[in-house]
Every structure is written in C-alpha cells, then in structure tokens.
C-alpha cells in the first residue's frame, strides 16, 4: 500500500479507460464506414479532423476548469465575441498579427474576468460564467449590429484553411496543444496543483497551494483557448456574424465528459478530452452523412451530456464503494 503502487494503479486504470475510448472511436469509424460510402473519403476524414481540432482547442481549456471542479459555460460565447473582435481588427488593419492578438487577447481578458468573478467575488462558477455567457452574447449582437464581416487576409486564413505537407494547419494546432496540455497537466507542479484543488480544495489550501491564483489561471487559460479557437474558426469560415460559435457550448462540455473528466473535480486528462472531441465529432459527422436534420444536434449533444454525467457518477460511486 505504498504510494508508488497507488500511482501505478491509477495510471494503468487511466490507460485502460483511454483504451476503451479508443476502441469506441475505432468502432464508430467502422460503423460509419459501413453505413456511408462518403465517410472514408479523403475530404471527409480531413473534415472530421478539422472539426475535432476546433472542438479540442475549446474543450482542452475547459478541461482545466473542470479539473478544479468548476465549469466555464461562457466558452462558446467567448469564442463568438473574440471572433467578432478579431474579425473587425483584421478588416480594419489588414494585419493578421494584430487580428490574432485581438482574438487571443479578448479571450484571455474574458477568462480573467471569469476567474475574478469566481475568486474575488466568490460567485459560484456556473452562475458567474452563465451570466458571462449572456453578457457576451448581448455584446456580440450589439457590436455586430446584425452585420457580417467577411474576407480576411490570405496569411490569416492559413491557420484555418491552410495546408502543410498535405495536412491542414488546424490539425497541427490540435497536436501542438495536445502536447502542451499534456505536459502542463501531467508533468508540471501547476498541473498537479490543479488536480489537487479539484480533488479537495480545503486540503489544497492547507498544503500551501495558492488556490485563488491557480483558479484565475485556469479560467484565463480556458478563455485564451476559446480566443485561439475563435481565430481557427474565423479563418476557416472567412466570415463572422454575431451568432458565430454559439452552438459549440454543449459539444465542448460533452467532449470533456466523454473524455472522462469529472464535473466533481480532480479527475480527467487532456488525452481523454482529445478522444472525447473525436468521438463527438464522429457523432455529428455521422448524423450529417446519414442526412439527419442538423436541428437535432442540440438534442443529441444534450442527451450525450446527460449520459456522460451519469456514467461519471456511476464510476465515482463504484470507486468510492471499493475504497
């Protein structure tokens, strides 16, 4: 019963859970390939990976928040607001760099505001970020005034629709941020502290972890990733409207939950979220290929969120009963 055994046990259980999820991915791919001839075409596979990368960028930041037993319901609205701001800066300056700074800066600032609402004002995270969702929603609609901004500089569009050695740029971004996220959560003290805060905030505080500062950090990272995702989305669509990204909230939360992140904190991995994003994208892509009306998507992601939370609760209960 020494500590290394516990860690080892935890690791192998985690690897097993990841293995199951990879099996789900393989099974879904096989089923979709059988069901639709269009699934295994090059353009569709690239399309799936591209969509998964957008979802992963949002969900990876959200995963950090969920690890602390918090939630960021404003990620999709943040993406929308940041995309609108970046679009208008891109259009007025013509500079990809300034546009990217605007998008990421806005995402970070919104995340920081969330972090301060949660820590300094002690508003429960889901209420603070839910309020932020509607505030950002209103701001985006006001800012865009019903208009559309479109046609961005070619250099900027590369990050959404460009290719490098035949592979779309967003897919590189997905793997880059997967590696960074994995290193951050699994190999740094910050990462360990974030897990500790989620598992037991009181114990974390007593052991000297600056809980509030770490919380502000995770909300800021979540916001920043939403800002980054906004740029990728913007570059792919080549246009921005007030409702851009609005429908991504449920899929992002669903990706985290499918990936094994627990809303009760302290449990979850970046690799799980990556697979979660893949599974969810396959579901949506499958609906698309099988010509299910897109209006059913909120219904399906809603059901997936509920199933995801339920599975999480059953898993936790079983683990508690064992110990």
């Amino acid at each position: 019963m020494t500590e290394p055994i516990a860690i080892r046990h935890g690791f192998s259980a985690g690897a097993l859970a990841l293995g199951y999820r990879l099996l789900v991915v393989v099974a879904m791919c096989a089923a979709l390939a059988l069901a639709s001839d269009a699934f295994l075409t090059e353009s569709n596979v690239i399309n799936v990976l591209r969509q998964a990368s957008l979802l992963f960028l949002i969900a990876s930041g959200l995963t950090l928040v969920i690890l602390t037993a918090g939630l960021d319901l404003s990620v999709a609205a943040n993406l929308g607001m940041s995309a609108c701001l970046a679009a208008s800066v891109l259009k007025s300056t013509g500079s990809p760099l300034l546009g990217m700074l605007a998008g990421i800066g806005s995402g970070l600032a919104i995340g920081l505001a969330n972090g301060l609402l949660v820590t300094a004002l002690r508003i429960p995270p889901f209420i603070a970020t839910y309020g932020m969702l509607w505030v950002l929603h209103g701001l985006s609609y006001y800012y865009m005034a019903g208009g559309t901004i479109y046609g961005f500089p070619p250099g900027f569009r590369e990050i959404g629709s460009g290719y490098l050695f035949g592979v779309p740029v967003p897919i590189y971004l997905m793997f880059l941020f997967f590696v960074i996220g994995w290193l951050f959560t699994a190999r740094t003290t910050y990462g360990q502290e974030i897990y500790a805060i989620g598992a037991n905030p009181a114990a974390a505080r007593l052991s000297g972890i600056p809980v509030k500062r770490r919380l502000v950090l995770v909300y800021a990272v979540s916001g920043g990733m939403a800002g980054l995702a906004a740029l990728v989305y913007l570059a792919r669509l080549n246009s921005a409207e007030a409702d851009i990204g609005e429908s991504l909230l449920l899929p992002a939360i669903a990706a985290c939950l499918i990936g094994g992140a627990s809303l009760f904190g302290g449990v979850g991995t970046i690799s799980g979220t990556l697979i979660g994003a893949l599974i969810l994208t396959l579901v949506l892509n499958g609906m698309n290929l099988l010509q299910v009306n897109a209006n059913w998507q909120p219904f399906v992601t809603g059901v997936i969120v509920l199933i995801g939370v339920w599975v999480d609760m059953v898993t936790r209960k079983r683990a508690e009963d064992k110990s």
């Binding site: 889901f126 209420i127 509607w134 939360i253 009306n293 059901v303 509920l306 609760m313």
Partner: protein
C-alpha cells in the same frame, strides 16, 4: 459609531432590492418623460408577467439549492407544441393540455435527474436545455409556426372584470406559489432541502417526492406561461424564450434569495422581476437595443450579489 446604530439597523432591514427598484425608477423617471405615465407602468406589468411565471418556480428551485437553466428552452418548446397543436386543428384546451404536459415531462425529468440520480442541477438542466431546444428546432424545422387561428391572441390582449388577463395570470401564479411555499408541507420541504441536505436523506422517500415536485412545478408554470407567450406573438417560434431563464435567475438573485444558504423570500422575487422589467422598459424608452439590455441585466445581478455580500458582513 454607536449613535448611528438604530438608523443603520433600520436601513439594513430594508431589502436591497427595494433600494434598487426605487433607484431605477428615479433614474428612468428623470431620464425619460413617458416612463412614469400610467400607461407605461401598466406596460411594465404586462411585460413582466411571463418572466414572473418563470421566476416564481425558480425561487423555489434556488431555495432548494438547485438551478434550472432549461426553463427558457422548455417554455419555448411548450409554446411551439401549443402552436403546432392549434395549427393541426385541435381546440385550445387540448393544445394547452399538450403544452402543459410537455412542461410537466421536462420538469419530471429534471426532478428525477437532480433528486434521484443526484446530478448537479446546472448540468442536468443544461442537458435538458439542449434536448428541449433541439426538439423545438426539429419539430418546427427552425421556422416560426404561424396560422394558429384567432382564439389565442385575445388571451394576451383581453381583460377579465377590467383586469388584463395576463395580470390575472400573474396574480394567480403568485398566489398559488405563495400558498405552496408558505402554507403547505411541500413549502416546508423546499426550505428544508436547501438548508440541510442530511436531514433530507434521513427523511427518506417523501422528501425526494417533494424535491422532484419543485422541478415539476417549474415545468408546469413554463407550460402555462407558454399560453401567454404564444398569445403575445400570435405564433410559435423555436427560439422565442431562449435565455429567459437568465432574466428569471437574475430576478430571484436581485430579490435577495441566496444561491447557497437556502434563504430567501417570494415577495423579493416579485420585486426582482419588477426591477428587471423596469430596467428593460426604461432602457427601451431610452432607445438602448435589447442586446445591451442583457449586458446591463448581467451587471445588475453583480451589483445585487455585491450588495448581498456587503450586508452579510458583520
């Protein structure tokens, strides 16, 4: 400091929401001419009815340390169901029954998820929000449902013994909720569930039934409110009331009901609804677009929470 005590105590006894409401009325009364006219005040009342019908059950839900962010989407779905039933030639009674049944079903689902499955309320209702929104979009194919006939519209514009029908709804809904919360055992459970979870576990099956009942009441009110919403638009629309639960949550919070302590009062919610109504109406008169009104309502709740926090300090 000692001589000031009685005054301070008296000021502290007046709930924050009353200050906010008076302040808003003064500001908007000064800023826009028509604000304090009788017609406009009636208008604020009329515009606040549907919000009140969501905020009343939301008070009970928040008192039980829960949350229901699906209420706006459920209200939308109920309205769409009502409109579709009418378009297909059903009578108003049947259509209303179907709408209320849809609301009750979602209330039951939310209640089961929260009380029996023990999911965190905001995630459970986030899931059902997606389901209700998806259903509303799918059954209408994203389009408005028009051609519902002439029998619904008078419910919003008509009067009963000189009282506009929506205000009669508001009165009835408030009276019903007041009775449930303060005169019945169900109401006792609402406070007990919020204040003390362990007692609830010990109390057994009955407490769970009451807990589920709180969410069912929310679905029921959403079903009834759908009648007014549909009558007001004389149509059903698949995104009509999306996000209205945010206004309802703000009204409850501004009204002084606490998210974490199981404390609050129903009359405060009525004042909170009026504060939100006054804010929207006043900003409307000043020509502020509805997108920015949402932003100011977000700020309103932060101010209310700050005031609440300051008053908690010894």
């Amino acid at each position: 400091m000692v001589p000031q005590r009685p005054l301070r105590a008296a000021l502290a006894a007046i709930p924050g929401v009353a200050y906010i409401l008076v302040l808003l009325c003064i500001v908007f009364g000064a800023a826009s001419k028509g604000f304090l006219s009788g017609a406009n005040i009636l208008n604020i009342g009329m515009q606040s009815v549907i919000l009140l019908m969501l905020a009343l059950p939301m008070t009970l839900i928040i008192l039980s340390e829960g949350l229901d962010i699906s209420l706006g989407a459920v209200l939308t779905l109920c309205s769409v169901v009502l409109a579709l039933m009418l378009v297909r030639g059903n009578g108003l009674a049947v259509a209303l029954a179907a709408a209320v049944a849809a609301g009750l079903a979602f209330g039951l689902a939310n209640g089961l998820l929260v009380s029996i499955v023990k999911m965190p309320p905001f995630v459970a209702t986030l899931g059902t929000l997606g389901i209700a929104q998806g259903l509303a979009l799918a059954v209408t194919d994203g389009q408005s449902v028009v051609g519902i006939g002439a029998q619904v519209e008078p419910i919003y514009s008509g009067s009963l013994f000189g009282l506009p029908i929506p205000l009669a709804f508001a009165l009835g809904a408030y009276a019903l909720t007041h009775w449930l919360l303060y005169q019945t055992r169900f109401g006792g459970y609402v406070f007990a569930i919020g204040g003390n979870r362990e007692a609830l576990v010990l109390a057994g099956v009955r407490a769970h039934l009451h807990h589920i009942g709180i969410y069912i009441f929310g679905g029921f009110m959403a079903g009834l409110a759908a009648l007014l919403l549909t009558a007001r638009m004389n149509a059903g629309h698949p995104t009509a009331a999306i996000g209205m639960e945010f206004d309802a949550i703000v009204a409850v919070a501004v009204g002084g009901t606490s998210f974490e302590r199981g404390e609050g009062w129903l009359f405060g919610t009525l004042l909170g609804v009026l504060a939100v109504g006054v804010m929207r109406n006043g900003l409307n008169l000043l020509g502020v677009p509805s997108s920015l009104q949402v932003v100011s309502i977000g700020l309103l709740v932060i101010v209310a929470l700050l005031v609440d926090g300051l008053k908690q300090r010894p």
